[in-house]
Symmetry: C2
Subunit: 242 residues, 2 copies
Amino acid sequence: MAKTAAIIIIGNEILSGKIRDGNSPYLAGELRALGVNLRSIEIISDNVEAIAERIASCSKAHDIVFTSGGVGPTHDDVTMQGVARGLGLGTVQSQQMAELLRDTCRIRESDAISKMSEIPEGAELIAEGDMFFPLVRVKNVYVFPGVPEYLKDKFEAVKERFREKPFILKKVFVNREEFCIAHIIDHVAVEFPDVIMGSYPKIKEPDYKVMVTLEDTDSKRLEKATKRLVDELPEGSVVRTE
Amino acid sequence: MAKTAAIIIIGNEILSGKIRDGNSPYLAGELRALGVNLRSIEIISDNVEAIAERIASCSKAHDIVFTSGGVGPTHDDVTMQGVARGLGLGTVQSQQMAELLRDTCRIRESDAISKMSEIPEGAELIAEGDMFFPLVRVKNVYVFPGVPEYLKDKFEAVKERFREKPFILKKVFVNREEFCIAHIIDHVAVEFPDVIMGSYPKIKEPDYKVMVTLEDTDSKRLEKATKRLVDELPEGSVVRTE
Protein backbone atom coordinates (compact mmCIF):
# COMPACT_ATOMS: atom_id res chain seq x y z
CA MET A 1 0.00 0.00 0.00
CA ALA A 2 1.25 3.46 -0.92
CA LYS A 3 1.88 5.90 1.92
CA THR A 4 -0.92 8.45 2.39
CA ALA A 5 -0.38 12.17 2.85
CA ALA A 6 -2.24 15.39 3.58
CA ILE A 7 -1.25 18.97 2.77
CA ILE A 8 -2.30 21.84 5.05
CA ILE A 9 -1.75 25.32 3.57
CA ILE A 10 -1.90 28.02 6.22
CA GLY A 11 -2.70 31.49 4.92
CA ASN A 12 -5.42 34.14 5.14
CA GLU A 13 -4.03 35.61 1.90
CA ILE A 14 -5.31 32.61 -0.09
CA LEU A 15 -8.72 32.48 1.61
CA SER A 16 -9.19 36.18 0.93
CA GLY A 17 -8.38 35.67 -2.75
CA LYS A 18 -5.33 37.97 -2.67
CA ILE A 19 -2.81 35.28 -3.54
CA ARG A 20 -3.34 32.09 -5.54
CA ASP A 21 -1.90 28.98 -3.93
CA GLY A 22 0.77 27.45 -6.13
CA ASN A 23 2.32 25.28 -3.42
CA SER A 24 -0.36 22.60 -3.24
CA PRO A 25 -0.45 21.96 -7.03
CA TYR A 26 3.37 21.73 -6.97
CA LEU A 27 3.36 19.29 -4.04
CA ALA A 28 0.46 17.28 -5.52
CA GLY A 29 2.42 16.72 -8.74
CA GLU A 30 5.63 15.86 -6.91
CA LEU A 31 3.92 13.42 -4.53
CA ARG A 32 2.19 11.66 -7.42
CA ALA A 33 5.52 11.25 -9.20
CA LEU A 34 6.97 9.81 -5.98
CA GLY A 35 4.08 7.35 -5.67
CA VAL A 36 2.64 8.91 -2.51
CA ASN A 37 -1.18 8.81 -2.22
CA LEU A 38 -2.25 12.39 -1.44
CA ARG A 39 -5.64 12.25 0.27
CA SER A 40 -6.47 15.85 1.14
CA ILE A 41 -5.40 19.45 0.68
CA GLU A 42 -6.73 21.98 3.17
CA ILE A 43 -6.30 25.73 3.15
CA ILE A 44 -6.98 27.25 6.56
CA SER A 45 -6.48 30.58 8.30
CA ASP A 46 -3.55 31.74 10.44
CA ASN A 47 -5.30 30.67 13.61
CA VAL A 48 -3.74 28.50 16.31
CA GLU A 49 -6.94 26.57 17.14
CA ALA A 50 -7.81 25.90 13.49
CA ILE A 51 -4.25 24.68 12.79
CA ALA A 52 -4.15 22.51 15.92
CA GLU A 53 -7.50 20.90 15.10
CA ARG A 54 -6.53 19.98 11.54
CA ILE A 55 -3.00 18.82 12.51
CA ALA A 56 -4.45 16.53 15.19
CA SER A 57 -6.89 15.02 12.69
CA CYS A 58 -4.56 14.74 9.67
CA SER A 59 -1.49 13.47 11.55
CA LYS A 60 -3.58 10.58 12.91
CA ALA A 61 -5.31 9.78 9.59
CA HIS A 62 -2.25 9.89 7.30
CA ASP A 63 1.36 8.70 7.14
CA ILE A 64 2.81 12.11 6.28
CA VAL A 65 1.51 15.68 6.72
CA PHE A 66 2.98 18.72 4.97
CA THR A 67 2.20 22.24 6.15
CA SER A 68 3.08 25.41 4.27
CA GLY A 69 3.03 28.98 5.54
CA GLY A 70 2.91 30.88 8.81
CA VAL A 71 6.55 30.43 9.87
CA GLY A 72 7.82 34.01 9.50
CA PRO A 73 8.52 36.73 12.06
CA THR A 74 5.13 38.52 12.20
CA HIS A 75 2.11 38.37 14.54
CA ASP A 76 0.12 36.16 12.15
CA ASP A 77 2.84 33.48 11.94
CA VAL A 78 1.45 30.91 14.38
CA THR A 79 2.05 27.60 12.58
CA MET A 80 4.67 26.31 15.05
CA GLN A 81 2.29 26.89 17.97
CA GLY A 82 -0.61 25.27 16.09
CA VAL A 83 1.44 22.21 15.05
CA ALA A 84 2.76 21.76 18.61
CA ARG A 85 -0.72 22.04 20.13
CA GLY A 86 -2.21 19.68 17.55
CA LEU A 87 0.37 17.03 18.44
CA GLY A 88 -0.05 17.60 22.19
CA LEU A 89 3.42 19.11 22.54
CA GLY A 90 4.84 22.32 23.95
CA THR A 91 7.26 24.66 22.16
CA VAL A 92 10.91 25.34 22.98
CA GLN A 93 13.44 27.99 22.01
CA SER A 94 15.85 26.18 19.68
CA GLN A 95 19.42 27.31 20.17
CA GLN A 96 20.43 25.59 16.92
CA MET A 97 17.69 27.40 14.95
CA ALA A 98 18.63 30.76 16.49
CA GLU A 99 22.28 30.24 15.48
CA LEU A 100 21.36 29.26 11.91
CA LEU A 101 19.07 32.29 11.55
CA ARG A 102 21.81 34.56 12.88
CA ASP A 103 24.82 33.05 11.10
CA THR A 104 23.46 31.64 7.81
CA CYS A 105 20.49 33.93 7.21
CA ARG A 106 22.24 36.97 8.71
CA ILE A 107 19.13 38.10 10.58
CA ARG A 108 20.10 40.70 13.18
CA GLU A 109 16.75 41.55 14.81
CA SER A 110 16.54 39.67 18.11
CA ASP A 111 12.70 39.75 18.15
CA ALA A 112 12.55 38.04 14.76
CA ILE A 113 15.17 35.44 15.77
CA SER A 114 13.37 34.70 19.02
CA LYS A 115 9.98 34.33 17.23
CA MET A 116 11.34 32.15 14.40
CA SER A 117 13.36 29.84 16.64
CA GLU A 118 10.38 28.83 18.78
CA ILE A 119 9.63 25.30 17.54
CA PRO A 120 7.68 22.26 18.80
CA GLU A 121 9.57 20.20 21.40
CA GLY A 122 11.29 17.14 19.95
CA ALA A 123 11.41 18.63 16.45
CA GLU A 124 14.16 17.66 14.00
CA LEU A 125 15.91 20.50 12.15
CA ILE A 126 16.78 19.45 8.61
CA ALA A 127 19.40 21.64 6.96
CA GLU A 128 20.35 19.68 3.84
CA GLY A 129 20.72 20.84 0.24
CA ASP A 130 20.14 24.39 -0.87
CA MET A 131 18.10 25.75 2.04
CA PHE A 132 17.97 29.35 3.22
CA PHE A 133 16.81 28.29 6.69
CA PRO A 134 16.23 24.78 8.09
CA LEU A 135 13.12 22.68 7.60
CA VAL A 136 11.32 21.59 10.78
CA ARG A 137 9.93 18.06 11.17
CA VAL A 138 8.04 16.93 14.23
CA LYS A 139 6.59 13.41 14.37
CA ASN A 140 5.04 12.86 10.90
CA VAL A 141 4.55 16.59 10.20
CA TYR A 142 6.92 18.54 7.88
CA VAL A 143 6.61 22.30 8.41
CA PHE A 144 7.36 24.17 5.16
CA PRO A 145 7.44 27.93 4.60
CA GLY A 146 4.82 29.58 2.37
CA VAL A 147 7.26 31.36 0.04
CA PRO A 148 7.24 29.06 -3.04
CA GLU A 149 10.98 29.32 -3.78
CA TYR A 150 11.88 28.27 -0.20
CA LEU A 151 9.28 25.50 -0.19
CA LYS A 152 10.68 24.03 -3.41
CA ASP A 153 14.31 24.13 -2.21
CA LYS A 154 13.32 22.34 0.99
CA PHE A 155 11.10 19.76 -0.71
CA GLU A 156 13.82 18.95 -3.25
CA ALA A 157 16.23 18.35 -0.38
CA VAL A 158 14.01 15.81 1.41
CA LYS A 159 11.79 14.27 -1.26
CA GLU A 160 13.73 11.01 -1.59
CA ARG A 161 12.52 10.18 1.94
CA PHE A 162 9.02 9.75 0.51
CA ARG A 163 9.63 7.72 -2.66
CA GLU A 164 7.28 4.75 -3.21
CA LYS A 165 6.33 2.69 -6.29
CA PRO A 166 5.13 5.36 -8.73
CA PHE A 167 1.71 5.54 -10.37
CA ILE A 168 1.52 5.25 -14.16
CA LEU A 169 -1.12 7.34 -15.93
CA LYS A 170 -3.04 6.63 -19.15
CA LYS A 171 -5.41 9.13 -20.75
CA VAL A 172 -8.13 8.16 -23.23
CA PHE A 173 -9.72 11.08 -25.10
CA VAL A 174 -13.29 10.41 -26.24
CA ASN A 175 -15.54 12.45 -28.55
CA ARG A 176 -18.84 11.47 -26.88
CA GLU A 177 -20.77 13.17 -24.04
CA GLU A 178 -19.91 11.80 -20.60
CA PHE A 179 -23.47 10.64 -19.91
CA CYS A 180 -23.34 8.46 -23.06
CA ILE A 181 -20.24 6.53 -21.97
CA ALA A 182 -20.64 6.61 -18.15
CA HIS A 183 -21.92 3.01 -18.01
CA ILE A 184 -18.87 1.76 -19.95
CA ILE A 185 -16.43 3.55 -17.64
CA ASP A 186 -18.27 2.17 -14.61
CA HIS A 187 -18.16 -1.32 -16.04
CA VAL A 188 -14.36 -1.22 -16.51
CA ALA A 189 -13.94 0.32 -13.03
CA VAL A 190 -15.84 -2.60 -11.49
CA GLU A 191 -13.80 -5.15 -13.46
CA PHE A 192 -10.48 -3.52 -12.46
CA PRO A 193 -11.01 -2.31 -8.88
CA ASP A 194 -7.27 -1.59 -8.35
CA VAL A 195 -7.06 0.76 -11.32
CA ILE A 196 -7.98 4.33 -10.32
CA MET A 197 -10.31 5.72 -12.96
CA GLY A 198 -11.57 9.23 -13.54
CA SER A 199 -13.61 10.98 -16.21
CA TYR A 200 -13.39 14.69 -16.95
CA PRO A 201 -15.79 16.44 -19.35
CA LYS A 202 -14.39 19.39 -21.29
CA ILE A 203 -16.71 22.09 -22.59
CA LYS A 204 -14.56 23.96 -25.05
CA GLU A 205 -12.18 21.36 -26.50
CA PRO A 206 -12.52 21.12 -30.28
CA ASP A 207 -11.40 17.50 -30.63
CA TYR A 208 -12.78 15.61 -27.61
CA LYS A 209 -15.56 15.80 -25.01
CA VAL A 210 -14.30 13.61 -22.17
CA MET A 211 -10.83 12.69 -20.92
CA VAL A 212 -10.92 9.31 -19.18
CA THR A 213 -7.90 8.60 -16.96
CA LEU A 214 -6.61 5.27 -15.65
CA GLU A 215 -3.84 4.96 -13.06
CA ASP A 216 -2.06 2.03 -11.50
CA THR A 217 1.35 1.11 -10.08
CA ASP A 218 1.17 -2.16 -12.09
CA SER A 219 1.86 -1.41 -15.78
CA LYS A 220 0.51 -4.75 -17.11
CA ARG A 221 -2.82 -4.41 -15.30
CA LEU A 222 -3.03 -0.80 -16.50
CA GLU A 223 -2.50 -1.85 -20.14
CA LYS A 224 -5.18 -4.53 -19.78
CA ALA A 225 -7.74 -2.11 -18.31
CA THR A 226 -6.98 0.55 -20.93
CA LYS A 227 -7.41 -2.00 -23.74
CA ARG A 228 -10.73 -3.16 -22.24
CA LEU A 229 -12.00 0.43 -22.07
CA VAL A 230 -10.96 1.26 -25.64
CA ASP A 231 -12.54 -2.01 -26.90
CA GLU A 232 -15.85 -1.31 -25.13
CA LEU A 233 -16.17 2.35 -26.21
CA PRO A 234 -18.26 2.96 -29.40
CA GLU A 235 -16.32 2.50 -32.63
CA GLY A 236 -14.69 5.73 -33.77
CA SER A 237 -15.24 7.49 -30.42
CA VAL A 238 -11.62 7.28 -29.18
CA VAL A 239 -9.74 10.30 -30.49
CA ARG A 240 -6.38 9.29 -29.03
CA THR A 241 -4.67 7.56 -26.09
CA GLU A 242 -1.71 9.04 -24.22
CA MET B 1 -20.18 40.09 11.76
CA ALA B 2 -19.61 38.86 8.20
CA LYS B 3 -21.03 35.45 7.31
CA THR B 4 -18.43 32.66 7.31
CA ALA B 5 -18.03 30.10 4.56
CA ALA B 6 -16.10 26.95 3.67
CA ILE B 7 -15.35 25.48 0.24
CA ILE B 8 -15.04 21.72 -0.24
CA ILE B 9 -13.60 20.66 -3.61
CA ILE B 10 -14.23 17.00 -4.36
CA GLY B 11 -11.87 15.45 -6.87
CA ASN B 12 -9.16 12.79 -7.08
CA GLU B 13 -7.93 14.52 -10.24
CA ILE B 14 -6.65 17.50 -8.21
CA LEU B 15 -5.08 15.39 -5.45
CA SER B 16 -3.26 13.32 -8.06
CA GLY B 17 -1.89 16.49 -9.68
CA LYS B 18 -3.61 15.83 -13.03
CA ILE B 19 -5.81 18.92 -12.95
CA ARG B 20 -5.17 22.23 -11.23
CA ASP B 21 -8.09 23.53 -9.19
CA GLY B 22 -9.30 26.86 -10.55
CA ASN B 23 -12.68 26.80 -8.82
CA SER B 24 -11.51 27.63 -5.31
CA PRO B 25 -9.43 30.68 -6.36
CA TYR B 26 -12.44 31.89 -8.37
CA LEU B 27 -14.84 31.40 -5.45
CA ALA B 28 -12.36 32.93 -2.96
CA GLY B 29 -12.15 36.11 -5.02
CA GLU B 30 -15.92 36.31 -5.51
CA LEU B 31 -16.67 35.71 -1.83
CA ARG B 32 -14.19 38.38 -0.77
CA ALA B 33 -15.83 40.87 -3.14
CA LEU B 34 -19.22 39.96 -1.64
CA GLY B 35 -17.90 40.49 1.90
CA VAL B 36 -18.18 36.84 2.93
CA ASN B 37 -15.46 35.61 5.31
CA LEU B 38 -14.05 32.42 3.72
CA ARG B 39 -12.49 30.33 6.49
CA SER B 40 -11.33 27.15 4.79
CA ILE B 41 -10.84 25.44 1.44
CA GLU B 42 -10.54 21.67 1.45
CA ILE B 43 -9.76 19.38 -1.46
CA ILE B 44 -10.78 15.80 -0.74
CA SER B 45 -11.21 12.56 -2.66
CA ASP B 46 -14.35 11.15 -4.29
CA ASN B 47 -15.15 9.08 -1.23
CA VAL B 48 -18.54 9.06 0.52
CA GLU B 49 -17.12 8.79 4.06
CA ALA B 50 -14.54 11.56 3.53
CA ILE B 51 -17.20 13.86 2.05
CA ALA B 52 -19.71 13.10 4.82
CA GLU B 53 -17.15 13.74 7.55
CA ARG B 54 -16.10 17.14 6.17
CA ILE B 55 -19.68 18.21 5.35
CA ALA B 56 -20.78 17.40 8.91
CA SER B 57 -17.92 19.43 10.37
CA CYS B 58 -18.04 22.42 7.98
CA SER B 59 -21.84 22.80 7.88
CA LYS B 60 -21.86 23.11 11.68
CA ALA B 61 -18.86 25.46 11.87
CA HIS B 62 -19.84 27.89 9.07
CA ASP B 63 -22.84 29.81 7.77
CA ILE B 64 -22.46 28.62 4.16
CA VAL B 65 -20.69 25.63 2.59
CA PHE B 66 -19.92 25.33 -1.12
CA THR B 67 -19.00 22.00 -2.67
CA SER B 68 -17.66 21.52 -6.20
CA GLY B 69 -17.32 18.29 -8.16
CA GLY B 70 -18.59 14.73 -8.11
CA VAL B 71 -22.11 15.33 -9.44
CA GLY B 72 -21.86 13.66 -12.87
CA PRO B 73 -23.06 10.29 -14.14
CA THR B 74 -20.03 8.05 -13.38
CA HIS B 75 -19.15 5.62 -10.57
CA ASP B 76 -16.89 8.13 -8.84
CA ASP B 77 -19.59 10.83 -8.60
CA VAL B 78 -20.68 10.36 -4.98
CA THR B 79 -21.05 13.94 -3.73
CA MET B 80 -24.86 13.80 -3.31
CA GLN B 81 -24.55 10.68 -1.15
CA GLY B 82 -21.72 12.22 0.88
CA VAL B 83 -23.57 15.51 1.44
CA ALA B 84 -26.76 13.69 2.48
CA ARG B 85 -24.91 11.44 4.90
CA GLY B 86 -22.95 14.35 6.38
CA LEU B 87 -26.20 16.17 7.11
CA GLY B 88 -27.89 13.06 8.50
CA LEU B 89 -30.31 12.83 5.56
CA GLY B 90 -31.28 10.16 3.06
CA THR B 91 -31.41 10.60 -0.72
CA VAL B 92 -34.48 10.66 -2.95
CA GLN B 93 -35.08 10.35 -6.70
CA SER B 94 -36.09 13.86 -7.75
CA GLN B 95 -38.78 13.83 -10.43
CA GLN B 96 -38.15 17.52 -11.10
CA MET B 97 -34.41 16.95 -11.63
CA ALA B 98 -35.05 13.96 -13.91
CA GLU B 99 -37.39 16.06 -16.07
CA LEU B 100 -34.91 18.94 -16.31
CA LEU B 101 -32.09 16.56 -17.26
CA ARG B 102 -34.30 14.95 -19.89
CA ASP B 103 -36.00 18.06 -21.31
CA THR B 104 -33.48 20.89 -20.88
CA CYS B 105 -30.19 18.98 -21.02
CA ARG B 106 -31.52 16.46 -23.57
CA ILE B 107 -29.91 13.52 -21.81
CA ARG B 108 -31.40 10.27 -23.15
CA GLU B 109 -29.53 7.62 -21.14
CA SER B 110 -31.82 6.44 -18.34
CA ASP B 111 -28.89 5.25 -16.15
CA ALA B 112 -27.31 8.69 -16.26
CA ILE B 113 -30.64 10.42 -15.51
CA SER B 114 -31.36 8.10 -12.62
CA LYS B 115 -27.86 8.63 -11.15
CA MET B 116 -27.89 12.42 -11.54
CA SER B 117 -31.39 12.92 -10.17
CA GLU B 118 -30.64 11.20 -6.87
CA ILE B 119 -30.35 14.14 -4.44
CA PRO B 120 -30.49 14.65 -0.64
CA GLU B 121 -34.03 14.70 0.79
CA GLY B 122 -35.37 18.20 1.37
CA ALA B 123 -33.02 19.75 -1.20
CA GLU B 124 -33.97 22.89 -3.11
CA LEU B 125 -33.42 22.86 -6.88
CA ILE B 126 -32.35 26.28 -8.11
CA ALA B 127 -32.76 26.78 -11.86
CA GLU B 128 -32.25 30.53 -12.27
CA GLY B 129 -30.13 32.41 -14.80
CA ASP B 130 -28.01 30.73 -17.42
CA MET B 131 -27.73 27.22 -16.01
CA PHE B 132 -27.27 24.02 -18.00
CA PHE B 133 -28.73 21.91 -15.16
CA PRO B 134 -30.09 23.04 -11.78
CA LEU B 135 -28.04 23.86 -8.69
CA VAL B 136 -28.81 21.79 -5.58
CA ARG B 137 -28.99 23.42 -2.13
CA VAL B 138 -29.64 21.43 1.01
CA LYS B 139 -29.62 23.18 4.40
CA ASN B 140 -26.61 25.54 4.25
CA VAL B 141 -24.76 23.48 1.61
CA TYR B 142 -24.66 24.53 -2.07
CA VAL B 143 -23.65 21.63 -4.33
CA PHE B 144 -21.80 22.93 -7.43
CA PRO B 145 -20.45 20.91 -10.36
CA GLY B 146 -16.70 20.65 -10.92
CA VAL B 147 -16.70 21.85 -14.52
CA PRO B 148 -15.54 25.50 -14.18
CA GLU B 149 -17.91 26.93 -16.82
CA TYR B 150 -20.98 25.36 -15.14
CA LEU B 151 -19.80 26.38 -11.68
CA LYS B 152 -19.41 30.02 -12.78
CA ASP B 153 -22.86 30.15 -14.43
CA LYS B 154 -24.47 28.78 -11.29
CA PHE B 155 -22.52 31.00 -8.89
CA GLU B 156 -23.36 34.11 -10.94
CA ALA B 157 -27.04 33.18 -10.71
CA VAL B 158 -27.12 32.91 -6.92
CA LYS B 159 -24.33 35.15 -5.64
CA GLU B 160 -26.54 38.05 -4.58
CA ARG B 161 -27.91 35.75 -1.85
CA PHE B 162 -24.55 36.01 -0.12
CA ARG B 163 -23.76 39.74 -0.34
CA GLU B 164 -22.49 41.38 2.87
CA LYS B 165 -20.62 44.59 3.61
CA PRO B 166 -17.51 44.22 1.43
CA PHE B 167 -13.91 44.28 2.59
CA ILE B 168 -11.65 47.07 1.35
CA LEU B 169 -8.01 46.21 0.68
CA LYS B 170 -4.90 48.38 0.98
CA LYS B 171 -1.44 47.22 -0.06
CA VAL B 172 1.78 48.83 1.19
CA PHE B 173 4.94 47.81 -0.71
CA VAL B 174 8.11 48.03 1.38
CA ASN B 175 11.75 47.68 0.29
CA ARG B 176 13.02 46.21 3.59
CA GLU B 177 13.35 42.55 4.68
CA GLU B 178 10.30 41.25 6.55
CA PHE B 179 12.25 40.49 9.72
CA CYS B 180 13.36 44.18 9.88
CA ILE B 181 9.79 45.52 9.89
CA ALA B 182 7.92 42.67 11.63
CA HIS B 183 7.77 44.54 14.96
CA ILE B 184 6.19 47.59 13.28
CA ILE B 185 3.51 45.49 11.54
CA ASP B 186 2.77 43.72 14.83
CA HIS B 187 2.48 47.03 16.64
CA VAL B 188 -0.11 48.38 14.16
CA ALA B 189 -1.99 45.05 14.26
CA VAL B 190 -2.28 45.30 18.05
CA GLU B 191 -3.45 48.94 17.87
CA PHE B 192 -6.08 48.12 15.19
CA PRO B 193 -7.40 44.65 16.10
CA ASP B 194 -10.33 44.90 13.64
CA VAL B 195 -8.07 45.53 10.66
CA ILE B 196 -6.92 42.25 9.10
CA MET B 197 -3.19 42.54 8.39
CA GLY B 198 -0.88 40.32 6.39
CA SER B 199 2.73 40.49 5.26
CA TYR B 200 4.08 38.65 2.22
CA PRO B 201 7.80 38.51 1.40
CA LYS B 202 8.72 38.37 -2.28
CA ILE B 203 12.03 36.89 -3.36
CA LYS B 204 12.37 38.03 -6.94
CA GLU B 205 10.62 41.43 -7.09
CA PRO B 206 13.00 44.14 -8.27
CA ASP B 207 11.29 47.06 -6.50
CA TYR B 208 10.04 45.76 -3.14
CA LYS B 209 10.71 43.01 -0.58
CA VAL B 210 7.46 42.79 1.37
CA MET B 211 3.83 43.49 0.52
CA VAL B 212 1.90 44.43 3.66
CA THR B 213 -1.89 44.17 3.32
CA LEU B 214 -4.60 45.79 5.45
CA GLU B 215 -8.31 44.95 5.12
CA ASP B 216 -11.42 46.27 6.79
CA THR B 217 -15.09 46.82 6.05
CA ASP B 218 -14.74 50.33 7.62
CA SER B 219 -12.91 52.64 5.20
CA LYS B 220 -12.08 55.35 7.77
CA ARG B 221 -10.53 52.90 10.20
CA LEU B 222 -8.60 51.33 7.30
CA GLU B 223 -7.21 54.74 6.22
CA LYS B 224 -6.15 55.46 9.82
CA ALA B 225 -4.38 52.12 10.22
CA THR B 226 -2.66 52.46 6.82
CA LYS B 227 -1.44 55.97 7.70
CA ARG B 228 -0.13 54.71 11.07
CA LEU B 229 1.79 51.90 9.35
CA VAL B 230 3.31 54.19 6.71
CA ASP B 231 4.29 56.74 9.40
CA GLU B 232 5.99 54.09 11.55
CA LEU B 233 7.94 52.39 8.73
CA PRO B 234 11.52 53.64 8.22
CA GLU B 235 11.79 56.79 6.07
CA GLY B 236 12.15 55.96 2.38
CA SER B 237 11.15 52.30 2.85
CA VAL B 238 7.63 52.60 1.41
CA VAL B 239 7.83 52.11 -2.36
CA ARG B 240 4.12 52.67 -2.99
CA THR B 241 0.63 52.22 -1.58
CA GLU B 242 -2.28 50.76 -3.56
